[in-house]
């Protein structure tokens, strides 16, 4: 109990130190800013609804393709990274590669790919692919490593090869978990694909960025509402799919 109190006190002290380090006590809330924001945003502009839906359509394609390609890369890499399936000399470099893919958020990957391939959705798809491969790779190998050892050992001791273990034990036994992770990732990528357009990687974010620059907050609000409805809808569909299949 005393130990818990000490830990709680240390955490509170650390929070206070962060508050001071960031100089947060000098920041003040601007009522004028709020009034200005509300005046410019309301009512939301209906004139950009067509653009918003077109942007959203592109965003969905970016998220779908990025998730699919990322999954295609993550699956073999995560098998190689699993300690219960392959030796550490193979697993460690693959884990490092997956970490490297995951360390940059999708937004930074998008900046890199815009520099390499120019403005447009290709940069967005590649950015989502990289991040998805890194993230799903980790989730997948953790699922594989959680498989019961007994099942693998039983077939291995009866002469099954590694390929046969993957085909008959690893993939079927973890299929539900993999599908659940992939659906969650798609959900996550729809949200991120909306943001990466801000750096020119296609989708609804591209329009969002343009209207923000010109302070057209009524149009920005319309776009945000469209994104909100889409994300809530996809969350519900994805949750239903996970309940059904995962």
């Amino acid at each position: 109990m005393a130990r818990a109190k000490v830990i709680a006190a240390l955490l509170a002290l650390a929070a206070l130190a962060s508050f001071i380090a960031l100089d947060l006590y000098h920041s003040t809330f601007s009522r004028q800013g709020l009034r200005w924001l509300l005046e410019l945003s309301f009512p939301p502009s209906g004139s950009v609804l067509g653009i918003a839906l077109r942007g959203l359509w592109e965003t969905m394609h970016i998220a779908y393709l990025g998730t699919l390609l990322g999954l295609g890369i993550a699956l073999p890499l995560s098998l190689l990274a699993s300690r219960n399936l392959f030796p550490r000399r193979i697993g460690i470099p693959v884990r490092m590669l997956l970490s490297a893919l995951r360390v940059l958020p999708a937004l930074l990957w998008a900046i890199i790919f815009v520099m390499l391939f120019g403005l447009g959705p290709l940069a967005g798809v590649l950015a989502i692919t990289c991040y998805t491969a890194g993230y799903l790779g980790k989730l997948f190998y953790e699922s594989f490593e959680a498989l019961p050892k007994d099942t693998l050992e039983a077939l291995e001791s009866m002469g099954a090869s590694r390929l046969q273990l993957l085909r008959f034990v690893v993939i079927p036994e973890s299929a539900h978990a993999l599908l659940g992770h992939a659906l969650f990732m798609f959900e996550y990528n729809v949200r991120h694909s909306s943001v990466i357009g801000i750096v020119g990687a296609g989708g609804i974010g591209f329009y969002l960025s343009a209207y923000l620059k010109f302070f057209e907050y009524d149009k920005v609000l319309t776009l945000l509402l469209v994104i909100f409805v889409a994300v809530v809808g996809i969350d519900a569909l994805s949750a239903a799919a996970r309940r059904r299949f995962a």
């Binding site: 077939l155 001791s157 090869s161 079927p172």
Partner: protein
């Protein structure tokens, strides 16, 4: 030919964690041997070592003439782990077929399509353990005794010369235990399979195996044959009286 021969065997998870020392025994065609001992005494580790899953720490052991740690020819040794290791997202028949996976070609391993001959053998193995009517069920739908019989069918579908089975009777009601025992007897008597059992249930071990070996304090402390009074084995669980 001797099915299993072990001399001065030491087993454990590493050289620093030796669980059993100086284990010696022999097993011939159609014979059965049960290792009994309290939980944690190293029974499962011994079985895993014989199955080639864990490395041999010291001594010599050969399974079907192949010296450990080399593995005997594919399909000649059946192994049933303590938790049975059934694939839950597959049917009972598919689980039995997986016992024949080692005989598949690479292309069939990828497609997952087993030849008709394998299907016949898997159905025959299921019939042998009295579970033909459960072929399309999921292991989740089976009772504890039925699951054990599926694991036996998967292990014997290759017609192994040696069967290694870990705690086959734990948590079973008397009727299920009787069914599992009958299935093991059929394999031993019908096919001449040599069986090594690991058990903490002394009654079941005495009723199943030709020889019962008691393990305690890192080694063999008692050995008796079927028909002999097993009092000496009580020492394994309760110490010297």
């Amino acid at each position: 030919m001797m099915r299993i021969a072990a001399k001065g065997l030491s087993v454990g998870h590493s050289a620093e964690k030796v669980l059993l020392r100086d284990i010696s025994f022999e097993l011939r065609r159609g014979e059965s041997l049960a290792f009994v001992g309290a939980s944690g005494c190293g029974k499962t580790t011994l079985l895993k070592t014989l199955a080639g899953i864990l490395p041999l720490l010291d001594g010599e052991a050969s399974v079907l003439g192949t010296a450990l740690p080399s593995r005997p020819p594919r399909g000649k040794v059946g192994y049933i782990p303590q938790n049975l290791g059934l694939v839950q997202n597959a049917t009972v028949l598919e689980n039995v077929l997986y016992g024949l996976a080692a005989e598949l070609t690479t292309s069939r391993s990828i497609s997952g399509v087993f030849p008709e001959e394998h299907l016949s053998r898997a159905r025959a193995a299921l019939a042998e353990v009295g579970l033909s009517h459960k072929a399309d069920s999921s292991p989740r739908q089976l009772s504890g005794g039925e699951k054990r019989r599926v694991a036996i069918a998967r292990a014997i579908v290759q017609r192994p010369e040696v069967l290694l089975a870990d705690e086959m009777f734990s948590e079973l009601d008397p009727k299920s235990a009787e069914e599992v025992l009958a299935a093991l007897k059929r394999i031993q008597d019908g096919h001449g399979t040599a069986i090594v059992l690991v058990e903490h249930n002394l009654t079941m071990a005495c009723g199943t195996a030709d020889t019962i070996v008691g393990l305690r304090d890192g080694g063999i402390v008692a050995r008796c044959s079927r028909g002999e009074k097993p009092e000496c084995l009580l020492e394994v669980f309760y110490g010297k009286s």
